[in-house]
């Protein structure tokens, strides 16, 4: 956790949940685990406010609670989880590409609420779709089906819930609730869930458990409406999305390097291992040639597939490996290698863009040859000594390459020391991730700045729009509407247009930068995993 990450999180939380929540989140991050009392006393907010803020943070999975050694409830914030806030648009977008508009809306709603009942999602999406489509009725079951699809493909998962026993039977109310969900239930839709109908529940049955709600007979007292699937909350499974992003990256890399069909082969292999392979695994489970051939969406001739497998095996990225000869050849995808190759390609492109082609050549020479002296770099890269020195030192100054000193004598005299340049991939990755965070901070700060600059204009536009809408509703004359329109001058309109363009550009850039963060972080994670 770096100070840059902290800063970014505070910006993100503020943007999504407001000032109070931001204050509490930052406090928790800076001071580590804290109990409720000390949070209240340090942030100087009303206890109810703090309670609400913690609720929001817990609901969005940013803050966790637990008991400390002395048996007090403590709250802990998680930077990694909070940083995912940047990526929300990307999750929504990929849901759209996979499951269409309905999928997009479902994921959007779930992300928006953090955790939510299935029936609520269906209801909300229905209302929003109705607005968007204006009259075109949609099958109500379509939304439910999509939701079930998303759950079946593990993009959504069930939250742990109250287990039935510690409901009323236990007399002592525990300090923290014991929530649990069995692995089998994680992606299972209960039969009753998703039925949009409401069921009346008698007041005296105050049980929170869904089982109880279901088991009790249809209530006679029409006091409180409770959805049928009460207690079964759903959230977005970020890991599953990350796996999808990573797989997309691998497929696009292979497609770039070989061709579309090779990309399809790898896509098939990744799809087949989706459910069998752990997210952080180093390689997928081996797949037999025949299985791959059967699973290919577009039938390739066996002979052609064989050739593609050979091409993939021979490729110098070495993403696809051969595991054995059984079943017409067993193949696996080296996920660790893939993440390394893709991360390296991204780092290389940073060097290429930032320092130019010649520096890129030097950088890649160092990557290939590991340790080189200045003179050797010049010879390999065929760059004149003077220029090469400048380029190397420039990259050295910006921490892209490092120096290994090897003294010939114990006194480390410069004249009797070899200076070997090298690239420490892990270190460069960390450094670039930090850079990305700073860029994100900069972009967001600028976006806030632009909004503040044009605050008056934005408010005016909103007011004009509100008036126009209300007048249209009450059936006003077109001339009147025009008059209202005219309160915005041409200049103001242009300025507003410009402002919107700027914001769009900044937001797009934030998303792109986050893509880099994702690639770099998956490499760091994979490396850390490998070292364990």
């Amino acid at each position: 956790m770096s100070s840059l990450q902290l800063k970014l999180v505070s910006l993100l939380v503020q943007e999504h949940f407001g000032d109070v929540v931001e204050k509490i989140c930052t406090h928790l991050l800076k001071n580590g685990s804290n109990n409720f009392r000390s949070v209240v006393s340090t942030v100087k907010e009303k206890p109810e406010q703090v309670k609400k803020a913690l609720c929001v943070l817990i609901q969005h999975n940013i803050v966790k609670y637990g008991l400390n050694k002395r048996g007090m409830v403590e709250y802990t914030a998680d930077v990694e989880k909070a940083l995912l806030l940047v990526r929300y648009p990307r999750y929504i977008y990929s849901a759209k590409t996979l499951y269409g508009d309905i999928g997009e809306l479902i994921v959007e709603e779930v992300l928006h609420h953090g955790e939510i009942l299935m029936s609520n999602v269906v209801e909300k999406v229905k209302v929003r779709l109705k607005e968007a489509m204006e009259g075109n009725q949609l099958e109500p079951s379509a939304i439910k089906d999509k939701f079930i699809d998303l759950v079946n493909t593990h993009f959504l998962q069930r939250l742990p819930s109250w287990s039935a026993e510690d409901d009323e039977e236990s007399k002592v109310i525990p300090l923290i609730p014991h929530l649990s969900v069995s692995d089998a239930d994680l992606y299972r839709i209960p039969e009753t869930a998703g039925v949009t109908g409401k069921r009346k529940r008698p007041l005296n049955d105050g049980g929170r458990s869904s089982k109880r709600a279901r088991s009790s007979s249809v209530g006679s007292e029409p006091d409180q409406e409770v959805p049928l699937d009460d207690g079964i909350y759903w959230k977005v499974n970020f890991e599953r999305f990350h796996r999808y992003f990573r797989d997309q990256d691998i497929i696009s890399a292979i497609t770039q390097r070989i061709d579309k069909s090779a990309g399809d082969v790898v896509a098939t292999m990744l799809r087949m291992s989706e459910l069998t392979t752990d997210f952080m695994a180093r390689e997928t489970k081996p797949l037999s040639f025949h299985d791959i051939a059967r699973q290919m969406p577009k039938k390739l001739e066996n002979r052609q597939l064989e050739q593609y497998m050979k091409l993939l095996l021979d490729d110098q990225t070495m993403i696809v490996k051969k595991y054995g000869d059984a079943g017409g050849g067993m193949y696996e995808i080296d996920l660790e290698q893939a993440s390394r190759v893709i991360c390296t390609a991204n780092i290389e492109s940073v060097v290429q863009e930032r320092f130019g082609s010649k520096s890129f050549r030097i950088f890649k020479t160092l990557l290939k040859k590991k340790y080189l002296e200045q003179k050797q770099i010049e010879n390999f890269a065929l760059i004149p000594a003077k220029e090469a020195k400048e380029l190397v030192y420039q990259m050295f100054a910006e921490n892209f390459i490092t120096v290994q000193e090897i003294p010939r004598t114990p006194d480390h005299a410069p004249s009797r020391t070899f200076y070997l340049f090298t690239v420490e991939l892990g270190q460069v990755t960390f450094m670039l991730a930090e850079r990305c965070y700073k860029s994100l901070i900069n972009l967001m700060t600028r976006r806030h700045f632009e909004s503040a600059e044009n605050k008056r204009l934005i408010e005016k536009e909103q007011k004009v729009e509100a008036i126009t809408a209300s007048m249209q509703g009450s059936g006003a004359e077109p001339a009147q509407l025009e008059e209202i329109e005219k309160t915005m001058t041409q200049l103001e309109k242009e300025q507003l247009q410009k402002y919107k363009g700027r914001i769009a550009k900044l937001e797009q850039s934030e998303l792109q930068t986050d893509k880099t963060v994702f690639v770099l972080n998956s490499f760091i994670l994979q490396e850390a995993e490998g070292r364990l």
Binding site: D249, S252, A253, Q256, R257, D259, A262, Q304, Q307, K310, L311, D314, Q316, T317, V341, I342, A345, N346, S349, V350, Q352, E353, R354, S357, F360, R361, K364, T365, K368, F380, A381, L382, I383, P384, A385, E387, L432, R435, C436, K438, S439, I441, N442, L443, T445, R446, F449, K498, G501, R502, K505, L506, S509, L511, Q512, T513, D514, K515, T516, V519
Partner: protein
């Protein structure tokens, strides 16, 4: 007295010829002791004076081998070349000759010959004007002059190899070759992909051996210097470091070369698009590290960002 002298003169001439004869038979040089054995009836004084005469007239050389001094017949060409040169000039010439095609610096000549700097300079100038030696500038140390015999081609370590002319690295030349080689490889890939081939065959056909590239470059006539296949290999290696080309080693049959294994090159596509970070102005910002909110350089007032947003 006079009669005695007269008698000795032909004897001396005879002796000199015999020594020369012996030297001719032993091109590796002949030691004094061997000479003594070969000429048993000549006394030491006579032999020494004969050898001295031969040495001073430049017909033989006194050369030091690992453990003893030997006499060696001098190259008649050289003798005629430096005819008319005095002892000192000859000495300098010999020192330079020994250095071969690596050349020798003035300072080293001075140390070896024990001559004064001014005197040496005069001699060097003299020899240079008679086209016996030439001065070559070393690529490692541009200000030091190295001397070598006129007819020698300097060693690559002195000139820096193919990529240097006049001690200057010809980066433009390298750049042009780099581009042309890449173009050739790319054309190959394109021409192959135009054919409807199996994927495997398509890849295998797009590989090119360095010999083919060499032929292409030679036919282009862009180089004034004669390039060797090794030079082309060096250029192709830079393309690998550029990430534009990959190299594979093919073993045995199927290649045009007769070697048991040879390198093959192929143009490739980069693995990814430019990464997202570099598409924002912060990615290429030169003052990124000095930038913070509230400072002289800050994201709110950033002019790069302003330009980029309004672009």
């Amino acid at each position: 007295m006079s009669a005695e002298e007269k008698q000795e003169a032909p004897d001396a001439m005879n002796l000199e010829e015999r020594i020369l004869e012996l030297c001719k038979q032993n091109p590796d040089g002949i030691a004094d002791s061997t000479l003594q054995k070969e000429l048993p009836n000549v006394d030491t004084r006579q032999r020494v004076s004969a050898v001295n005469r031969l040495l001073s007239s430049g017909k033989i050389d006194l050369v030091k081998t690992s453990n003893e001094l030997v006499y060696r017949l001098k190259d008649p060409g050289v003798v005629s070349k430096i005819k008319g040169a005095d002892n000192q000039e000859r000495l300098v010439y010999q020192i330079i000759e020994q250095s071969g095609n690596k050349g020798i610096w003035t300072r080293d000549i001075r140390l070896k010959s024990n001559l004064q700097l001014t005197q040496l300079n005069k001699i060097l100038k003299n020899l240079e004007s008679r086209k016996l030696i030439k001065a070559v500038k070393s690529v490692g140390a541009a200000r030091k002059k190295a001397y070598m015999l006129f007819n020698l081609t300097p060693d690559p370590s002195v000139t820096g190899g193919t990529w240097y002319s006049d001690q200057e690295f010809e980066s433009e030349f390298v750049e042009v070759l780099n581009q042309q080689c890449f173009k050739f490889l790319q054309q190959k890939v394109e021409s192959v992909s135009a054919l409807q081939l199996d994927p495997l065959l398509k890849r295998n056909r797009s590989f090119v051996s360095p010999e083919e590239v060499w032929k292409f470059i030679t036919e282009l006539r862009i180089s004034k210097v004669d390039l060797s296949v090794d030079d082309i290999n060096t250029i192709l290696n830079t393309l690998i470091y550029d990430g534009k080309v990959e190299m594979t080693i093919s073993a045995g049959a199927g290649t045009s070369s007769s070697d048991s294994s040879s390198k093959l090159y192929r143009a490739i596509q980069p693995l990814t698009q430019p990464t997202g970070l570099m598409r924002s102005p912060c990615g290429v910002c030169p003052v990124f590290n000095q930038c913070y909110e509230g400072g002289a350089i800050s994201p709110s007032t950033c002019i790069y960002m302003k330009e980029w947003m309004d672009y």
